[in-house]
Assembly symmetry: C2
Homo-oligomer: 100 residues x 2
Amino acid sequence: MDLIEVFKALSNPTRLEILRGLKDPANNFPPQDEGDVLTVGVCVSSIQEGVGLSQSTVSGYLATLQRVGLVEVRRIGQWTYYKRNEANISALAEAIGKEL
Amino acid sequence: MDLIEVFKALSNPTRLEILRGLKDPANNFPPQDEGDVLTVGVCVSSIQEGVGLSQSTVSGYLATLQRVGLVEVRRIGQWTYYKRNEANISALAEAIGKEL
DNA sequence: TTGACATATCGGTAAATCTCGATATTATCC
DNA sequence: GGATAATATCGAGATTTACCGATATGTCAA
């Protein structure tokens, strides 16, 4: 895990807000029609509505979070669901505690 | 502690290198004439020599690290010594483990 | 007080990031 | 196949960051 790239990803307020929001997706994002928000994740349009930026910006932010391993993606039909990658996030917290 | 500002500070390779280097200053920076590197810290010119960037850049980076609380400063005579603020760094690691 | 040294600050240029609207892609439904 | 919906990608303009050299500030010593 590239610490520098992770820190870059986390140093944007909206990306940090998204990652934190995904901790309790049902309460932090508008409900979506299909798919359980906890097991499958939250779709891009729900996240977009939650943070209030343009669709392209939010899509890009999610791609960034996924590239560095903080979230995982699952495409179902026309929807793309994002949820936290808890394993990697725990590993990161531990790495920061040790390597920093 | 402003997480966003801390992440910004940490997302520069040189600043991260400095912070990590200060974990074992005697081995990571050239020796300096006065002041014990462990208790009092490392002076700017030693750090500059260690990382190989210009004096103004390194001075600015150290100011950034101090502004967000990752290092502490002590001026003695004409020298400014920097060392890690271990209390804040531990607090940060814990905050990341919980709040992230 | 003058000179030498350590550090800080300032002004500038190049590169990266933020964010948007427009457009491309992919999947669904009739 | 064509319309529609969800998402991704592609420029582009504005802002921020990365550095540098030059200069200012503070400290010591002769």
